[in-house]
Amino acid sequence: MDNILESKKVCKSYLNKKALRGVDLNITPGKIVGLLGPNGSGKTTFLKIAAGILHPSKGEILIDGHIPGVYTKSVVSYLPDNEYLLKWMKVRDAVMYFKDFYADFDEKKANELLIFMDLDENSTVKSLSKGMKEKLKLTLVLSRTAKLYILDEPLGGVDPTAREKILNAIVNNFSKDSSMIITTHLVNDIERIFDDVAFISDGEIVLHGNAEELRRDKKKSIDELYREVFK
């Protein structure tokens, strides 16, 4: 089966710091992969490279067989961990923005998700709380029929009730033809949805495998394993 994401020895260096030190990671269609690691381990850097907004210093990353660019941006649905929506926008403007730019955007699905997330389409983006903004971003990202979903800390700053709702939205809207890569610190909350996990430390993948096999072999939950690897 062709990999939807293929990363070969990807390195990213800044002036005096190496953020990634040769990351090898392949993701096949239909998989939800958890990319887990502490702060500064290189998770976000890797996701930004896959999303096409950072360029690797060395190595190569291919999305659906293509180097990140215009094509890959049309098949990747990326949720960054910042507030990137424009302040003047209302919720419905944000939906229309995505509809205008992404051919795979499903407006009907977006409207269903807005209702599910209790979001009023007449609200302005700047009036939304952090959790509501996170829900809106997720609504926009999940309303696309993308080949690869990249979610960077989708549960960041969200209360436990909303977390459950967001996780349900992710699971219910995930198609088996797509793949998803998620980073999070809240491993315990989210580990149930992972098919595979990759532990990243200091810019390197230190453990990678099927989530269920890892649980069985190590006789530990992914959360316990995470605490052991990064203690």
Binding site: I53, N82, W88
Partner: protein, 253 residues
Amino acid sequence: MFKLIKYELRATFLTIIGICISVIIASLLLMTRKGSWNTDIVTGLSVCLTIGAIIVISISSLKIMSKYLFGDSGYLLFTLPQSGMSIITSRIITALIQISIVTFVALLMCNLTLAGSIDFSYLKNFKVSELLYFIISYIWMIVYSLTLIYFCMIIGKVALKGKKLGKIGSFIIFIILTVAIGWLSTKITTLLPQTLNLNDFSINTQSSLINSNFAATGGVLNINIASTIFDILTFVGLFMGNSYLIDKKLDLS
């Protein structure tokens, strides 16, 4: 690309309206002072108002690009399936529209303040070709300047990753590049002084137009051929450079 322009204009709609309304109110206030203040003061203030409005809208449109490069909103723009060329073209066209709207309103109000009525009869003194030449020159000046400034901003961001360093670096690069291009243009004009008369397309080999790539004197429109070619080539280089840097080199922090 046109969708990008649509959203860019929506984003700055209130800024444009705000500047236009401010210019109109300030001009109306100036008109009420016409009898009591010295005419020179009213004229000076009206001209300052026009120039000020154009500067404010120009800075405002540059700040939008700066926000895309250094702020979070870049994550929205640069993850769209749009090429660097499409992004830079939409930014230039949007800024041109914004600046033109404000320039038009400001000049209109300046005319109204100074002449007491909106009078375009003086335009009859110009030939259609001359008006066309001035419009093209105006568009060229804005498009060229924006392309140069965007290039400096993008290369500053690419070369110096930090926000503060990137912005200062962009400014320094802008000064160096402007001086270098100006110096080269002057040298070229001195070495190759041949000019093209746009009225009859005749070539003048006399170096009467000192260090200028165009001039409009006594109804005669002259452009320095070599300098104009240099400007066009510089523009193409900067434009392609912008597109390439966005596609291949730009890293968002």
